[in-house]
Amino acid sequence: MIEVKGLSKRFGEVQVLTDINATFNKGQVNQIIGKSGSGKSVLAKCIVGLHRPEEGQVLYEGKSFHEMEPDEKREIRQRIGMLFQGSALFDSLTVLENVMFPLRMFATMAKSEMEDRAHTCLKRVNILEKDDLFPAELSGGMQKRVGIARAIAMNPQYLFCDEPNSGLDPQTSILIDELIKEITAEFNTTTIVITHDMNSVMETGEHIVFIHEGHMWWEGTRAELLNSDNKELNEFIFASALMRQVKAAMGNKG
């Protein structure tokens, strides 16, 4: 479980996040949603420790991350898997080497065992046959899948996905969403997905946090999301034609 308490972050004079409080549960796909520039990626970077907040705490299983000793932080980070918006695969390494990278850095196992583990992860995301290609030779969807394989290589306790659907076609997007959902259940991870894709929210979101202008505006489940009377949230979720149709269909049924 990850808890965020009273977190505020600013860059120079610009206040990006103000007094964010949220709890992200284990074994669930937690989603942080909001418009572009609302501060959701900054919040995620504060949670994983890439940014240090000016105020507030991020608690991993009750322990404040920013107050931990460097060794403790490193230990926590080795239990984090992260899928980046642009996949962040290492260009000079093959797919297999990318997935093996965290194992080679931290795992105490023979090279053959590392290869087996990497192959298992690649098989899990259905991209085993591309293991000798370089990231530049893969499509966006394939790169995301390799990113997921690398993120789960160390059996993470925490899985972060920053805009996992950006730049993907709807079909591939659904495959990635399903993969994240399945992996969360399989590894019992605390998963946090940062997205503004409402399809993804409706597909996988179990616990949803809505960030608006750097403030936590709303928190709840997927079912509660559609029935919320929060004006800003409704403006955000019903901006897409598809969601308006969903709303209309619900209205017809009701």
Binding site: L50, R74, Q78, M82, D91, F101, F106
Partner: protein
């Protein structure tokens, strides 16, 4: 931002770079790759420049010292001294700051904007150590070899230009390059080269590591890496010359 902010951040980055590595075996592999990329792959340009540099120095020395009071071998002597003391260690380092420095800043800067450095940090890898340390060691090991090769080729280039144009005979040139040789001058040149190599690798890595933005900013970092490396090399050159030669 103030210059002191950058100096402070540069030294903090160095501290992080030299903190204990996770897996030495992986660093060794990266070191060999960097020695090939930053050292061996610079050999061609260093060789070409050195030959022409030596040739020009010889011709200019002769045309500026064309006095019947001066002995003919003085051309070879001057070419050797200027090559060993200044041209090979300093000019080649400035050239390497352009080639290697921009390469380092662009590579690390691209990794920063593509979030690959964030990925390393989140995995718990010391990203500064993993990316920068092998480059520093590679430059400090390879640049002295490049400069020694440059010294030989530059003096050889002078010989070719001398006998090719007929401004100095081969015998006089060879006598000149053997006259009054002080081995310490080579030591001095190599000390300078190692210090310059450290400057090239660290200043360029600093520019790349703290790149903020996109591809345009990677270009800006790359340019800054070359400019700042050159400025720091020239300042260090003066300081080292005063320290080691006077």
């Amino acid at each position: 931002m103030s210059i002191f902010y950058h100096i402070g951040r540069y030294f903090l980055l160095l501290k992080e770079t030299f903190s204990s590595p996770e897996r030495l075996g992986l660093y060794w592999k990266r070191l060999l790759e960097e020695m090939d990329l930053l050292g061996l792959k610079s050999l061609g340009i260093v060789a070409l420049l050195s030959v022409f540099m030596g040739a020009v120095v010889t011709i200019q020395t002769k045309t500026n010292m064309d006095s019947p009071l001066l002995q003919a071998w003085i051309v070879g002597f001057a070419a050797r001294q200027s090559t060993i003391l200044e041209f090979s260690p300093t000019i080649i380092s400035l050239i390497l700051a352009g080639k290697v420095g921009s390469n380092i800043a662009a590579e690390i800067g691209s990794m920063r904007v593509k979030e690959q450095i964030d990925a390393l940090d989140i995995m718990g890898v010391n990203s500064a150590g993993y990316l920068i340390l092998p480059k520093i060691v590679a430059c400090m090991v390879m640049n002295p070899f490049l400069v020694i090769i440059s010294m030989f080729l530059s003096i050889f280039g002078g010989y070719l230009a001398g006998i090719g144009t007929g401004i100095v005979s081969g015998e006089d040139y060879l006598q000149g390059i053997q006259s009054g040789f002080i081995p310490y001058h080579v030591t001095y040149a190599l000390i300078k080269t190692v210090v310059f190599a450290f400057i090239i690798a660290t200043v360029s890595a600093y520019q790349g590591y703290y790149t903020v933005g996109g591809t345009r900013e990677v270009g800006v970092s790359s340019t800054r890496a070359v400019v700042y490396s050159n400025v720091v090399i020239l300042i260090a050159n003066y300081a080292l010359t005063q320290l080691l030669l006077i």
